[in-house]
């Protein structure tokens, strides 16, 4: 039995449409026009204990709706969810005591209170045993380097500091599952790295199951063993990221700086993407030719100053994937 089981989830919203202006608002009170939006059509997947899943998709694809249903605050129209044997929305209070949730854009700490006071309140809200709480808290404080922040009111923290505190806050009750919704949004580079490193450690050393939604593909690259792409309310792909890359955009890039003017190349499976002075950017299909063979063929005939191979950036792969599935912003 998987730890998280999601079957045939469907959810339709009714959205009230309002005419602009004051008369529109008044009319809206009396008679509303409704538009239905099918946020989820058919979403199924399952997750084993200890997995780290990246959940991606364009805005409006159904990511947040799925996360809301999994965390018990939204009821689907049809389909089944079971997490550690509980149906989240039917057994909300019991369920939410076992999971941790971090929303990148919302705080769960108390704005005017020192961080440590917020932690203490969460201990009481989650009914954590005081002794156990001290151990967990001290570990989290050490791992996330929060020592100096504990006595500061949350409003005085930088975004990066606050996010570290938020993550600790979500883990004080030692949940076995962590939902991270855009945990690196708006963070500077060192904070992003710190968050990623921590999440990886948490997953590998503690075996906490992590479900991560993000628009930052570097999060996915650094963390996710497995990626689910969601679009138009359906699961479009569910595989390790490398498999997704192989299917969507297998090509590699070869960057060559020639000693003289770049030649016209005519090699099988190779295409010139860009020409810039003495440099060429080539795209090649690794199933037709390999990097060493291509480099050998070029250096045998031409004088070359520098050469290196790259894979297309992960953003490019995902953009191509959305494109192929017509999944761009709904």
């Amino acid at each position: 039995m998987p730890q998280i089981l999601v079957q045939d989830l469907a959810k339709t919203y009714r959205v009230a449409e309002r005419d602009p202006g004051m008369f529109g608002a008044v009319r809206g009170l009396v008679r509303r026009r409704w538009r239905t939006v099918q946020a989820l059509k058919d979403v199924s997947f399952s997750l084993e204990r200890g997995e780290l899943l990246g959940f991606i998709g364009p805005n409006g694809a159904g990511k947040s709706t799925t996360i809301k249903i999994l965390s018990g605050i939204l009821r689907p129209d049809s389909g089944r969810v079971e997490i550690e044997g509980l149906v989240p929305y039917a057994d909300r209070i019991k369920h939410v005591g076992r999971i941790g949730v971090v929303f990148g854009q919302r705080t769960q700490l108390w704005w005017d209170l020192p961080v440590i006071d917020g932690f203490d309140l969460l201990r009481d809200i989650y009914r954590v045993d005081p002794k156990r709480y001290r151990t967990t808290r001290d570990e989290l404080v050490a791992m996330l380097r929060l020592e100096k922040l504990l006595d500061q009111p949350v409003r005085q923290l930088s975004l990066g500091q606050r996010m570290r505190a938020e993550i600790a806050a979500a883990l004080l009750h030692e949940p076995s599952i962590l939902f991270l919704d855009e945990p690196t949004i708006g963070l500077d580079a060192p904070s992003k790295l710190a968050v990623r490193e921590f999440v990886k450690k948490l997953n590998q050393e503690r075996g906490v199951t992590v479900l991560l939604t993000t628009h930052d593909m570097h999060d996915i690259e650094a963390l996710a063993q497995r990626v689910i792409v969601i679009g138009h309310g359906r699961v479009l792909a569910d595989s390790p990221f490398e498999a997704l890359r192989a299917n969507v955009l297998a090509e590699r890039r070869l960057f060559v700086d020639f000693a003289g003017d770049p030649p016209t190349l005519d090699l099988p499976g190779v295409e010139v993407r860009k020409r810039d002075g003495r440099s060429l950017e080539l795209a090649f299909d690794p199933r037709i030719t390999t990097a060493p063979a291509l480099i050998a063929a070029i250096t045998a005939r031409h004088a070359v100053e520098d050469i290196h191979v790259e894979q297309p950036a992960i953003e490019e792969v995902i953009a191509k994937f959305y494109d192929l599935h017509g999944a761009n912003e709904a």
Partner: protein, 267 residues
Amino acid sequence: MNALALLGRYFSASMRSQMQYPASAIMLTTGQLASTAIEIVSIWALFDRFGAVKGWSFGEVMFFYALIGISFSFADFLTRGFDVFGTDFVRTGAFDRLLLRPRSAALQLVGHDFRISRFGRFFQAAIILTIATSTLNFVWTPQAALLALWTVAGGIAFFSALFVLQAVMAFWTVESLEAVNALTYGGVYAGQFPLSLYARWFRTFLIFIVPLACVAYFPVLAILGRSDPLGAPDWFLPLAPVAGFVFLGLAFLAWRFGVSKYTSTGS
């Protein structure tokens, strides 16, 4: 930790965060005291010109005014989270955060905030009660004191129910909350005067629909030892505040309905 102990923790957290800005807390409290004091001056002006109104003296009206003020200030203190529910929780999505915690949303809303400044109205009402006592040469027997406590308890339940209902409205619309504000603040104002001054339809409304009269007019008659000029039986007067608790129970039923609507529509 049980719910009551948790509320204690919330309470102390709220006090500490307001004490981050002590000057602001003191000024807001004084401001509430001063602004409510103006109300009583306007009522005094009325009675000073006309003497008694339909058999009610200024001292008696001050009694109504004071007990309503005390009830309202406590309810406002305890249910601030419901008062700001539409703007601070539904509109911002912060309500999701409450639902993600293993406690009832209502408990967390009560714990959300306890505004110190609400004691401005409380102090003002307590002063008025003292003045009313001496004006009427009223003697506080133990029975009268108990009855006053019971009246205030019913009043707190009644006004809390109004704030809860206001929050329930926010599940459907966050734009017409002023309409419910008219009920809460209008209720305070209407409760300050004896019921017999009002038109018949309005009296019916205040007894049976929004039972303000049951937590103000009727029990205060009992405290003052007067019979109801409208003819409600004497035995009923001290029992009337029960209606406040019934009203609160109904408000929480509506609240549960609202929460389940929210979790099925996500808005």
